[in-house]
């Protein structure tokens, strides 16, 4: 009960309204990111590492182990836990050899749309002092799809106005990995 109240409070603080009646999960044509629920759950955030959780999801989606393993001690580097700003992200990306666009300011909207259109996820500022993963954007309906690392099994849908409030609540900062997007899950169609 206490946690529910806390979640509601956070939502209200951020001024975000999650669109109801839309259920979406991977894989889905509306989503740029393709990560099954159980893999997203690896990035559930228990200790204020939301930036690394968000980048980590993008790392798995684009098959970049250096980014996917940010939260843990591996041969790619020691774990990165706790809060981050653009300079810390820049530092650990340098250390691990991760290529990324670390973008702040008014252009973040265009970058997020570009990433979604080209099949990439984006780690985005979303909610007060919080980072989440942008999973997709549907320009026809103006719907943004976001996975919150506090509830990674769910993908939330936002309309334009709600998403705008969500993103602005954190300050305009996004991180996009500079690697190819994932391919669609391949299937055999007898075209020959």
């Amino acid at each position: 009960m206490k946690s529910t109240m806390f979640a509601l409070a956070i939502l209200l603080t951020a001024g975000a309204e999650i669109s109801s009646g839309q259920s979406v999960d991977c894989p889905d044509d509306r989503l740029a990111v393709d990560l099954p629920r159980d893999i997203r759950n690896w990035f559930r955030n228990p200790d204020g590492s939301c930036v690394q959780c968000s980048i980590g999801m993008c790392g798995v989606d684009q098959n970049v182990p250096e980014a996917a393993t940010l939260l843990w001690d591996t041969e790619y580097g020691p774990r990165e836990r706790g809060g981050s700003g653009p300079s810390r992200v820049s530092a650990y990306c340098h250390r691990r050899g991760i290529r990324a666009f670390n973008i702040t300011g008014s252009n973040t909207w265009d970058w997020m749309k570009w990433a979604a259109e080209t099949g990439r996820g984006t780690a985005i500022g979303a909610g007060r002092a919080h980072f989440q993963t942008l999973m997709g954007y549907e320009p026809e309906t103006g719907t943004w799809y976001v996975c919150n690392n506090n509830s990674p099994t769910r993908i939330d849908a936002y309309d334009e106005a709600s998403f705008r409030r969500l993103h602005l609540a954190s300050g305009q900062w996004v991180v996009i990995l500079d690697y190819p997007p994932h391919p669609e899950r391949p299937q055999y169609f007898q075209w020959w």
Binding site: I39, E75, Y76, D178, Y179, P180, P183, P186
Partner: protein, 306 residues
């Protein structure tokens, strides 16, 4: 003064155009290689007429990142051919024309290497059959300009010949583009608290050091399937030459007949196994003709027994 300003503007725009052009290579050699053996008729022809326009467009530099084809290389640890393919793709001009692993922006296709044991990526390959490594899978762009991006346009196991692989990929795309209009019509449409990740990430470098001459794996599912080779009739064994050797003793024509049979036998075996032939057909025919000629000369010059 006004005309001077105009002149400066004109010179400035011309020089900037020349500068922009100088950034492009004079000949896009990579695109030439991607096209392989293609004849495109450029001129006035009816829309939809049989020509190479669609294929040439598909192999041209993509307009945007979303228009890039996908090349996925599925590998496994301790696999010498996998390491060879990765090395070849970093250095061979035929493969670099398709994808540049070290420069994704200039790469014609999106290129990614996946490890079969990477638990974080296994879900991607659940609908395809892969039993040998390295397997190369080609898929259309995400933008759907060439149909469903999930479609496997090409799937093959690397056999060690980069040019053959590159030509195979281009040829599969050519055939796929040609069939594109009809193909889909018949188809139904928290473990964060621990210090180790919840899956075993792929190692940064594969510690396996391959022994030289490790055999390449057997062929896996081939997409598109290669045409079944027409059975080549086995060469008739030259029994008469053997009998001649046994009955009449050594004779050069009989030995030549056996040599010709041997050459044919080896060639047919290689053809049947799908291995590259040692000589092209023209050279082989010339060699056989030369041997026959030698045999006839020897037969004519042999003393007549009375």
């Amino acid at each position: 003064m006004r005309s001077l300003f105009l002149a400066i503007l004109t010179i400035g725009s011309l020089s900037s155009a020349a500068l922009a052009q100088s950034n492009r290579p004079e000949v896009d050699h990579a695109e030439v290689m991607r096209l392989g053996d293609t004849v495109q008729y450029v001129g006035t022809h009816a829309a939809g007429a049989e020509n190479a326009d669609a294929f040439v467009a598909a192999m041209s530099p993509p307009e945007s990142d979303a228009d890039k084809w996908f090349i996925s290389v599925l590998t496994m640890k301790g696999c010498a051919p996998c390491e060879k393919l990765k090395r070849d793709w970093a250095t061979n001009e035929w493969l670099l024309a398709l994808a540049n692993p070290s420069d994704s922006k200039r790469s014609w296709a999106h290129y990614k290497v996946y490890d079969k044991d990477d638990e974080s990526q296994k879900f991607r390959w659940e609908k395809v059959k892969i039993t040998a490594y390295p397997t190369i899978i080609i898929q259309p762009p995400r933008s759907e300009i060439y149909g469903d991006p999930a479609t496997v346009v090409f799937q093959k196991v690397y056999q060690g010949d980069p040019e053959r692989l590159a030509r195979g990929i281009s040829d599969a795309i050519r055939r796929y583009i040609a069939r594109l209009q009809t193909i889909h019509e018949s188809e139904p449409s928290g473990l964060i608290g621990q210090s180790a990740p919840p899956w075993q990430p792929v190692p940064r470098t594969d510690p396996f050091r391959p022994p030289p001459k490790t055999p390449f794996p057997l062929i896996d599912p081939n997409i598109p399937p290669e045409p079944v080779p027409v059975a080549v009739p086995a060469s008739i064994f030259p029994w008469s030459a053997v009998l001649g050797l046994l009955m009449a003793g050594f004779s050069i024509p009989a030995v030549i007949a056996l040599v010709i049979w041997g050459f044919r036998f080896i060639r047919e075996k290689r053809q049947a196994a799908g291995k590259p032939l040692l000589l092209d057909q023209e050279t082989f025919d010339e060699l056989i003709a030369l041997l026959r000629q030698l045999s006839e000369t020897q037969a004519q010059s042999a003393p007549v027994k009375k």
